[in-house]
C-alpha cells in the first residue's frame, strides 16, 4: 500500500479520485476549497471520468447533485460552514429522495462573527436532516471514511446521504503520513453504483419530488427513520470489513484505554488525538484516564455510548459547538438523553471549547481531566478556554 504525505483536504480529494464519481457539483469555500480544487485538476488532467459542475453557489451545487443523483449517478461534493448552511434547504430533500450523495465536509465555525477556523457548529446545525455524519480524527481517517461512506450510503438497507467531516485547518491543512489503497483495489472496493430509480430511464418514467400533504408526508419520513436505524449495523459491518481488507478497523465509537478507566473524556474529531496523548501521560502518572471517541454522530450511537461509559466514575463531554439551549452542547445533550435508561450512570459534565478555532492544547485537556476528578455532581456546563 502506498504511503503518502497528505493534508486532510488532499486525502479526501485522493479518495474522491479513486471513487471516480459520475458527477461532482461544488462551490469553493475556505477551508474546504482544496478538496474540489484538487479534484477539478484531476478532471482537467483526465484522471477521472467525472462531469464536474462548477456551480455558482453551494445551493446550486447541492441542487445539481440532486438532479444528477436522480439521474442514477454516483455523486459527490464538498463544502464547509456557510456553504453547508446555504445547502441546508436541500439537505433534507436529499435524504427524503433517498439519494446516497457523499459530501466531504470541513468543519468551520458559522458566522457570525465571520470566522474561518474549526468548530462543529456547521455540521451540528444540519444534524437532523437525515444525513449520516462521520467525524475524522486525522487525515487517514478522513481518507478511509470517505471511501467507506460510499458503501454505507449506497447500501440497500440505507440509501441515505452521508457527510464525512474533518476539522478545518487542524486536519484539512496539516500534512500527515497516510496509507492509501492501490487504485485497482480502491475501484474494486467501491464497486459499481447500483441505481434504484432514474429520471433518465425512459422506459419507466417517474415523478420525483411530489407535493405531499397531510395524507403522505409522514409516510415518506418513515423510510428515513428506518434507514437510519439500519445504518448503524451497516456502518459497523463496513468498518469491520474495511479492517479485514486494509488493516484499519472502524466502528461507531473508538474506545481508547477506556476498559478500566475511572475518568473519561468524550469527544469528536481531531481533539481525540490530543486527548490520547494526555491519556497516555496521565496513565503513566497512575491516573485511570480514558477516551471515548465518537466517530459517528448520525445515526447516534446512544446505547453504545451508554454502555461504554457505564463503568467510569465521571465523564466530561467535549462539545466544539453550542446549542444555546442552556442545556449544553449537542453531543452532551444527546449523551445525557441516552444515559437516562442506563442502570449505571457516571457523573457527566459538559465542556464547550474551541469555538471559532480557539486552540485546545495538551495543557487544556490536562486541566479538564484534573477538574473532572474534582467533579462532585452531574450537569455542569462549562465554557472552557474563553476570557471573561
Amino acid at each position: 500500500m502506498p504511503t503518502l504525505a497528505k493534508t486532510g483536504n488532499e486525502a479526501m480529494a485522493e479518495a474522491m479520485r479513486q471513487i471516480n464519481p459520475d458527477v461532482v457539483a461544488a462551490y469553493p469555500i475556505t477551508p474546504a476549497t482544496e478538496v474540489v480544487m484538487i479534484f477539478s485538476q484531476f478532471v482537467a488532467d483526465g484522471l477521472v471520468d467525472t462531469e464536474y459542475v462548477a456551480a455558482e453557489s453551494e445551493h446550486s451545487a447541492m441542487s445539481a447533485c440532486v438532479g444528477a443523483a436522480s439521474a442514477g449517478c454516483r455523486v459527490m461534493t464538498g463544502t464547509s460552514s456557510q456553504g453547508l448552511q446555504l445547502m441546508s434547504e436541500i439537505l433534507p430533500i436529499v435524504s427524503a429522495l433517498r439519494q446516497p450523495i457523499v459530501l466531504c465536509e470541513v468543519n468551520r465555525a458559522l458566522s457570525g462573527p465571520i470566522n474561518i477556523h474549526c468548530d462543529h457548529s456547521d455540521t451540528m446545525a444540519v444534524r437532523d436532516f437525515g444525513w449520516i455524519q462521520i467525524f475524522s480524527e486525522n487525515a487517514q481517517e478522513a481518507y478511509d471514511s470517505v471511501l467507506q461512506a460510499v458503501l454505507i450510503a449506497e447500501d440497500e438497507k440505507v440509501r441515505l446521504p452521508a457527510m464525512v467531516t474533518t476539522d478545518g485547518f487542524i486536519i484539512s491543512h496539516c500534512m500527515e503520513k497516510i496509507e492509501t489503497m492501490e487504485d485497482d483495489a480502491a475501484k474494486k472496493y467501491i464497486g459499481e453504483h447500483k441505481v434504484k430509480n432514474s429520471i433518465l430511464n425512459l422506459e419507466k418514467p417517474i415523478t420525483l419530488g411530489s407535493l405531499d400533504l397531510q395524507d403522505y408526508y409522514f409516510e415518506h419520513k418513515m423510510p428515513v427513520v428506518e434507514a437510519m436505524k439500519q445504518a448503524k449495523d451497516v456502518i459497523v459491518k463496513v468498518g469491520k470489513e474495511f479492517g479485514q481488507k486494509f488493516g484499519r478497523e472502524y466502528g461507531l465509537l473508538e474506545e481508547y484505554k477506556l476498559a478500566d478507566a475511572e475518568f473519561a473524556v468524550v469527544a469528536l474529531g481531531s481533539t481525540c488525538g490530543t486527548t490520547k496523548a494526555v491519556v497516555d501521560e496521565l496513565r503513566n502518572n497512575g491516573l485511570k484516564a480514558g477516551l471515548l471517541k465518537v466517530r459517528v454522530f448520525r445515526p447516534f450511537p446512544g446505547e453504545e455510548i451508554a454502555q461504554a461509559l457505564s463503568k467510569v466514575k465521571a465523564a466530561v463531554i467535549l462539545d466544539r459547538s453550542d446549542t444555546y439551549c442552556n442545556q449544553g452542547g449537542q453531543l452532551y445533550t444527546e449523551i445525557r438523553s441516552a444515559m437516562y435508561e442506563a442502570a449505571k450512570k457516571p457523573l457527566l459534565a459538559n465542556y464547550i471549547y474551541g469555538l471559532g478555532g480557539r486552540e485546545i492544547s495538551l495543557e487544556g485537556i490536562r486541566q479538564i481531566y484534573k477538574q473532572l476528578q474534582e467533579c462532585q455532581s452531574s450537569g455542569q456546563v462549562i465554557h472552557f478556554g474563553v476570557r471573561e
Binding site: 429522495l97 440509501r159 417517474i206 415523478t207 420525483l208 419530488g209 409516510e219 415518506h220
Partner: protein, 98 residues
C-alpha cells in the same frame, strides 16, 4: 392504485410512476360543459392544442372525437378558440346539469 398506502408499501424515495393523475377525475369541477358536434368539426385542433386539461379526445385516425368529461373542467377555452361559424359550431357551452 391502492388508497392510503402505508410507508412500507410506497415506492422508493417518494417516487411515483408516471401518469397516476388519470385516476383523479376533475370533471366534477364543471359548472358549464362544452358540447362537441362532430358534423361541424373542421379538425383544426385549436381546441386540442389549447386545452389545459388534455381533455379533447382524438380517435384512432387522430381526428377530434369529443370531450373527455372525466377531466374537462369546463373552462370554455375550446369554445373561444373554435373557429367554426355561429350557425355551425363544433363546440358550444351548456350549463352543467346537476
Amino acid at each position: 392504485m391502492k388508497k392510503n398506502m402505508g410507508w412500507k408499501e410506497l415506492w422508493h424515495g417518494d417516487s411515483v410512476p408516471a401518469g397516476t393523475a388519470k385516476e383523479f377525475q376533475t370533471g366534477d369541477w364543471r359548472s358549464e360543459r362544452p358540447v362537441f358536434c362532430a358534423e361541424n368539426c373542421i379538425h383544426c385542433y385549436f381546441c386540442w392544442i389549447y386545452c389545459p386539461d388534455s381533455a379533447i379526445t382524438l380517435d384512432e385516425n387522430k381526428k377530434v372525437s369529443g370531450i373527455d368529461y372525466r377531466y374537462c373542467k369546463g373552462c370554455g377555452i375550446c369554445d373561444v378558440e373554435c373557429p367554426t361559424k355561429k350557425d355551425k359550431r363544433a363546440i358550444t357551452m351548456e350549463a352543467e346539469r346537476k
